[in-house]
């Protein structure tokens, strides 16, 4: 029902959102090189999968940054860098919480 109300542009973007992915052969090659043993079919699916989520998280944050800075147009490297800074800060929060349980 939500899809029925999408504009042409939104439908186009949604289709690309659903279908786009990091190429499995490239992921397989890269992971195999880093791990030093072959990357299985399932592993390439898993890594491509969470890497896609990562890209999404960075882009979403970058869009926020762009809006906060009152800018328009394509995302810039600065938007991404600031987005990445915020992403790292957020991920540190979950780790710190766990650490605090065992220290003063």
């Amino acid at each position: 029902m939500l899809l029925d109300n999408f504009s042409e542009e939104q439908l186009k973007r949604y289709e690309v959102y659903r279908r786009s992915a990091l190429s499995k052969p490239n992921v397989k090659r890269m992971v195999g090189q880093i791990l030093g043993h072959p990357c299985s079919h399932n592993m390439s699916i898993v890594v491509a999968g969470f890497a896609k989520v990562f890209v999404g998280e960075i882009v979403e944050k970058a869009l926020d940054v762009r809006q906060e800075w009152g800018e328009t147009g394509s995302l810039s490297p600065e938007h991404l860098r600031e987005a990445y800074r915020r992403y790292k800060k957020e991920t540190k929060l979950t780790h710190n919480y766990q650490k605090r349980l065992f220290t003063k």
Partner: protein, 110 residues
């Protein structure tokens, strides 16, 4: 993991391994239909670093074993979004495999 800004090396020319894919991914997630090349290069670096970091973490967990999918699920234990996506993908893959098996069995029987 080094911040991009502190690296001495500039983005790797025009084409990274994932350039084509990243352009589509970025558009899909909300960027302009034609993302800026510099920006895509930065994203490529971020993704390469991220995948590398995750693989190294998984290696540490696996120690002397070969890395498995379970190791990746373990290092994602605090990242509910990514973990959920991974479990969904593995579930779908299982489904596809079973569907293929059933299809092959039917083929043979006929």
């Amino acid at each position: 993991m080094a911040e991009y800004k502190q690296r001495g090396r500039p983005p790797k020319g025009n084409k990274g391994v994932f350039t084509k894919d990243l352009r589509l991914l970025m558009y899909g997630f909300g960027d302009e239909p034609d993302p800026a090349p510099d920006t895509v290069n930065v994203m490529e670096e971020l993704v390469n670093d991220y995948i590398t970091e995750m693989c190294l973490k998984a290696s540490k967990v696996a120690k002397d074993r070969k890395v498995t999918v379970e190791d990746f699920k373990f290092i994602l234990r605090n990242d509910s979004k990514k973990l959920a996506r991974v479990e969904e993908l593995l579930f779908m893959e299982k489904d596809i495999k079973t569907a293929r098996k059933t299809f092959d069995v039917n083929e043979i029987e006929n």
